[in-house]
Subunit: 327 residues, 2 copies
DNA sequence: CTGAAAGCGCTTACAG
DNA sequence: CTGAAAGCGCTTACAG
């Protein structure tokens, strides 16, 4: 074994070191793991929402990239490596279970929509360390489970977005929502209602249209919305949907922001390049990544459970897609 | 050992299978690797070019995301997992060497600019399987080395871009280049010159400005260019630089494409959302990813070398940032 | 304090 | 054909 015990004479240490250097010795990772050393790999599982509607398939959600980048950086800082996995079919879950059980990874981070899969439940029950980002359902808090949830402050974000529109003088504000079974969808609707209520604007059911978080969903929901209603502003539950919304508005002959104010949620990379640049609610992906990785790593190294629920704050970023109503 | 030998009675097999099922048995990955089984992990090393000029640091090159997505998908199809690593400081190379030598991974893919690092050379010399995408320098073909290079057809892409501009009637065509020490930069300049030569347009040295492949580089190079020259069209060596170019043109009071035609290279995600949507040369990232992964996997599994040099074709995608010169 | 032995959980080559 | 043993390269607990 090659450790740095403090009691070894310097000369010997130096000799050993030089031999190591010379032969390029590196301890065999699998041997160490097998002998009880925790391996330094965590899994990052990105649950992908594919959409073929636009012709080309979207193969990795737009917001995975900055989050992943944050996870990798933070993991590296902690001496960990990240195994990246894109989940896009149900059978992937059994592969994931396998790499937990076969000790390829010491823990994992899930991001994106989760179907409540049996394999995942088994992983949690078995005491593997897991963090969920943007989780759709609450985990039952089992004493043996070691998992944690990190979410953006969806309610507050939606509240801020809607309130911003209200302050601009809008009273007819529509909302294009995400997947109905996802927690963030529910929470964003909640924030939207809260701002309306506070301003004394009656909630109109017809002004809320179901979308899917993706561009095509934003497009179709907007088209559907304008068949019956004529809002002056729309709050989209994701920037991707807002992109589809801008497209729809254009086809409808509506100028953004002159005829229609649009605000999104996420602040993905393309948002600032849009025409007009999109006003939106920024999620701090690198903050979420840091929390996820650091919690996971400390849980792995102390072998202790964790069951906190982090809510990461969110902020409004003002660009050019919303206009003050002048009347 | 739990294998599927053909000679085991069905009944026994079934019994074993059910026990496995019941106890959720999964073979220990490290034990298998230690006992000689190839592990099923490949490394994906993304050499990051950071830029802080724009205020926020760019933490992962825009084109890594689609490439990585392709790598993960293709690897998964082959039963492999991918360990993703973002290289952003020199010391990272020694970590990379370590995970090759300690057998954490069975091979690796490098993408982005490579400094000719000693650790990398050592990895190659030691016979580890490695593929380089968009490699800047030629590998010496050592008999023991097992590495391959996958590049886009840079010469042809630049040729197509420049020729397209020429066909639109432009004769004063500038080129904003990438990092000077990178192969793709050299090749793109070559394609640019080739098209000019073919059309009988004299090459003007002042029309070629050095950039850095990033948005800020495109911006500053464009500003610099217009201090002395007044081209009617610019071919940027990357879409990111074209984004900076559109910005610069705007500040210079030049309308794109009316006053200035712009064409990029890469076809990154934001390009089609730009104002105007960017005409560019598309690199087929998923094709490059497939070639990389499949070559690597077959090299790992046959333990054979490979030293091909793939050139992946490239195509023009016409959008709205170029205009026919009407005079 | 130190050095030799046992053991981690597999695979593979080898006796029976 | 089958079952017991050796060995992969480490770490850790244990004799000396």
């Amino acid at each position: 074994m090659v450790n740095n015990y403090s009691n070894v004479p310097d000369e010997t240490r130096e000799k050993v070191r030089s031999v190591i250097e010379k032969y390029n010795y590196v301890p065999h990772a699998s041997a160490r793991t097998l002998a009880g050393f925790q391996n330094k790999i965590i899994g990052l599982f990105m649950i992908d929402r594919k959409s073929d509607t636009a012709g080309k398939k979207v193969s990795m959600s737009t917001y995975f990239s900055p989050f992943m980048s944050g996870v990798i950086d933070e993991a590296n800082k902690n001496g960990y490596y990240v195994l990246a996995y894109a989940v896009n079919k149900p059978s992937d879950y059994s592969n994931i279970k396998e790499i937990f059980f076969n000790q390829t990874i010491s823990g994992g981070i899930f991001i994106g929509q989760q179907s409540d899969d049996a394999n995942i439940r088994q992983i949690i029950k078995s005491g593997y360390k897991v963090v969920f980002v943007d989780k759709d359902i609450e985990l039952e808090s089992d004493s043996s489970s070691k998992s944690l949830i990190v979410n953006a402050d969806n309610v507050d974000g939606a509240y801020k977005a809607t309130k911003y529109l209200i302050q601009l003088g809008h009273t007819s504000i529509a909302h294009i929502a995400g997947y109905m079974k996802q927690l963030s969808t529910i929470e964003r609707i909640e924030g939207y209602k809260k701002a309306l209520l506070e301003a004394g604007i009656p909630f109109n059911h017809d002004l809320v249209i179901k979308g899917n978080f993706m561009q095509d969903g934003g497009y179709f929901a907007t088209m559907k919305l304008f068949q019956k209603e004529k809002p002056t502003a729309i709050f989209y539950a994701s920037d991707s949907m807002a992109v589809g919304g801008i497209q729809a508005a254009q086809e409808l002959g509506l100028k953004v922001p002159e005829d229609l104010s649009i605000i999104g949620f996420d602040d993905i990379e393309i948002s600032s390049y849009l025409n007009p640049p999109l006003t939106t609610i920024r999620m701090d992906f690198s903050e979420m990544a840091s929390i996820s990785v650091n919690s996971l790593v400390s849980s792995i190294e102390s072998d202790s459970g964790f069951s906190a629920h982090y809510i990461v704050p969110v902020e409004l970023v003002e660009r050019k897609s919303c206009l003050k109503l002048s009347k």
